[in-house]
């Protein structure tokens, strides 16, 4: 069997001098140290507490190509369905980890909406100040990404500016000559009083297995507002480890919504560092998956300063032989008095073969806080089902309607109507129902 970790280590020697940013000594050092840590740790196994419920082995066994090439053959028509076509947006499109300028719509006018590659080459000061400062060292996938990643989205919104339209980030895989392993990275800097909306998705449009190790570092300065939506509806031969790390300063408000409908294995490591007073941290999501799919949400909110609020609501609907994992940790540091933290994870199993592992965790070191957490796993309420059927609504539609009603409050914070409509359509499709009743 091919050892992916070994393959990565030997590929690094070849790749490193060609990576964007290889002339920046700081970046070079960061990469080498990260690679050393990866070499020491290797990929996690189920013996690792953080990976207890999600076995990576079936995903790691493929003979992945590591050094990928872009693809000029992709046209706008190929990707249109993955974009919010009824809405004017900035677009950052990457194919096999490489920026596609002809499919993208960027700007440098008032704000930088461009590429991580460009930032690595052109903005050494910004890179020095932010790169690796939110995503922690010592996490295997973050380290691996830090070593290899040299492209992705770079977004920097200057003080006081509100981006005039949402930004869509699309990571495509098209590889036809074998499985591919991509390492891509976002750097998102939202300065004081600035505001941005981002919609992001990863999509494999080829026939081959793909595995994406993705890191997104988000910095929200004082009073910054960020709405960051992740649409995960990839092919069933595509796997993703998403490491999103959000650093929040005083009075900032950040929402990360994760809508998981597809992919073979999706692991979301979402960490909020609430490092100022009066921050609001919102994270929510809907997971609807079926046969052979796994979605694992690992969230961490760390409250460091007093008077902040975090809200976490994840809904899961599991069909067929699917597997869901939720591990949500809220940590309240000693200084973070008057923290208000809410966490809820509710799941419905629509099949005898579906499985959910859910584990809410609270670690509180302050004594004057309001924290609640809860999780439920259930089936649809029989009494309610009979109620709907007795009104003439067939069983399948009744189940769909109830399931939709169960999930829909996790869409409450979506602030782009076109996106909400799209998500509703996907939910209807996944549940096999007509959505007229809800729209």
């Amino acid at each position: 069997m091919i050892d992916l970790a070994q393959d990565l280590l030997s590929s690094f020697v070849v790749a490193e001098p060609q990576l964007n940013g290889s002339k920046n000594l700081g970046v070079v050092t960061l990469r080498k140290e990260a690679l050393d840590r990866f070499e020491a740790s290797g990929f996690p196994t189920t013996r690792n507490e953080e990976w207890k419920y999600t076995n990576l082995k079936p995903v790691l066994k493929h003979d992945y190509k590591i050094l990928l090439k872009g693809d000029d053959a992709v046209s706008f028509a190929d990707i249109k369905q993955f974009l919010l076509s009824d809405l004017d947006t900035y677009k950052l499109v990457f194919i096999n980890g490489k920026y596609s300028s002809w499919l993208s719509e960027t700007t440098h006018r008032d704000f930088d909406i461009c590429t991580f590659a460009a930032a690595l080459n052109k903005y050494p000061d910004v890179i020095g100040q932010y790169l690796g400062k939110s995503a922690p060292e010592g996490e295997t996938f973050v380290d691996l990404n830090t070593a290899f990643a040299d492209d992705g989205a770079y977004i920097r919104i200057k003080k006081g500016l509100t981006v005039d339209k949402p930004i869509e980030i699309l990571y495509l895989t098209t590889n036809e000559n074998g499985p591919s392993f991509a390492q891509v990275r976002n750097l998102i800097i939202v300065e004081e009083n600035a505001e941005v909306q981002i919609v992001e998705r990863h999509q494999n449009i080829g026939e081959q297995q793909s595995f994406t190790n993705f890191v997104s570092e988000v910095f929200a300065a004082q009073n910054a507002r960020v709405q960051y939506y992740k649409v995960q509806n990839d092919a069933t031969h595509a796997s993703l480890v998403d490491n999103t790390h959000v650093q929040q300063a005083r009075q900032s408000n950040v929402h990360v919504g994760t809508y998981s409908f597809g992919g073979k294995l999706v692991r979301n490591n979402l960490h909020f560092y609430s490092a100022g007073e009066y921050c609001e941290s919102h994270m929510d999501g809907i997971t609807i998956i079926g046969d052979g799919q796994t979605v694992d949400h690992h969230t961490l909110v760390e409250h460091i300063e007093p008077n902040s609020y975090s809200r976490e609501l994840y809904k899961g609907i599991y069909l067929g032989k699917s597997h869901g994992v939720f591990n949500g940790k809220v940590m309240v540091r000693q200084k973070a008095q008057k923290t208000n933290a809410f966490q809820q994870n509710d799941n419905i199993l629509l099949s005898d073969k579906a499985k959910v592992d859910t584990k809410p965790q609270l670690e509180i070191f302050a004594d004057d806080v309001k924290c609640s957490h809860g999780c439920t796993i259930g089936q649809l309420d029989k009494n309610a089902l009979f109620y709907l059927r007795s009104r003439g609504i067939p069983k399948r539609e009744a189940e769909g309607l109830m399931t939709y009603a169960f999930a829909s409050d996790a869409l409450e914070y979506v602030k782009i109507p076109q996106l909400e409509k799209r998500l509703n359509a996907v939910i209807a499709e996944k549940l096999g129902i007509n959505l007229e009743f809800a729209l």
């Binding site: 109620y387 539609e397 309607l401 007229e436």
Partner: protein, 249 residues
């Protein structure tokens, strides 16, 4: 319209209905009264097709068709409506969207075209007015945060919209104050015609002051032990159920 013959049903191992015979003709209003635990709600649920009950004997014939093999939704499509004693809350689905779905699914089930949006809207206006409901009802989530009286009124609103042939009102009076009771009963009476029928299931006589039955039946211990006209209801109100229990001990 409906002929129930020697109907027997149980839930898990417990026999609840022990041979019910009842025939309801178009245009009639029947009331079933009886003490708690006599099987009243079981009877209404069995007619509507609830799967938690196992029918162990007898038959239900609705307009010449055996109901036994039909799903609850198919029974609804044929014109059977059950007003629930405890209506279910469905957060995230508005009353108007729910009723639209129910009507159009029923029409689809009968092979008819969906109702025109304009007709639907006009009908909703008419029926909310009939039940003295504020129009804001329609945009609220189904039964979510509704008071007991609002839930019952919402049940009768749905009945008015669906226009069933047989409406079964299961303890519709419980949880209603006198004004709400009058409005609900008035709604039911306005919907009565020579072509449809109503089966009122109730513990107390007071609803029958407003919805006047043609026949009153007393259900006790899984059987109809007495039938009569509306005077039977008054007699029960006056004397309670103890004499029925004594007679059937």
């Amino acid at each position: 319209m409906i002929k129930i013959k020697d109907l027997q049903a149980r839930v898990e191992e417990k026999e609840i209905l022990k041979g019910i015979n009842l025939e309801i003709k178009p245009g009639e209003v029947h009331a079933i009264m009886g003490p708690n635990g006599s099987g009243k709600s079981t009877l209404s649920n069995v007619i509507a097709g609830r799967e938690d009950y196992e029918v162990t004997g007898g038959s239900i014939d609705f307009e010449g068709e055996d109901l036994m093999d039909l799903d609850p939704e198919e029974r609804a499509h044929k014109g059977i409506f059950l007003s629930f004693q405890y209506p279910v809350e469905i957060p995230g689905v508005t009353v108007s969207n729910f009723i639209k779905t129910a009507i159009n699914e029923s029409r689809k089930g009968r092979g008819e075209e969906p109702m025109e949006a304009r007709e639907m809207l006009a009908k909703m206006r008419e029926k909310t007015a009939l039940l003295e409901m504020d129009k804001s009802y329609l945009s609220r989530s189904m039964n979510e945060g509704f008071s007991g009286g609002e839930k019952k009124r919402n049940e009768i609103f749905q009945m008015a919209m669906l226009e069933p042939k047989l409406a079964i009102l299961d303890e519709t009076d419980s949880g209603l104050d006198i004004d709400a009771l009058r409005i609900v009963a008035n709604g039911v009476n306005k919907l009565r015609s020579k072509d449809n029928a109503v089966l009122v299931i109730t513990h107390y006589q007071r609803l029958l002051d407003y919805i006047e039955p043609d026949f009153v039946h007393v259900l006790y211990n899984g059987k109809i032990v007495k039938s009569g006209d509306k005077s039977l209801a008054l007699e029960l109100e006056e004397k309670g159920y103890d004499w029925i229990k004594a007679e059937n001990a």
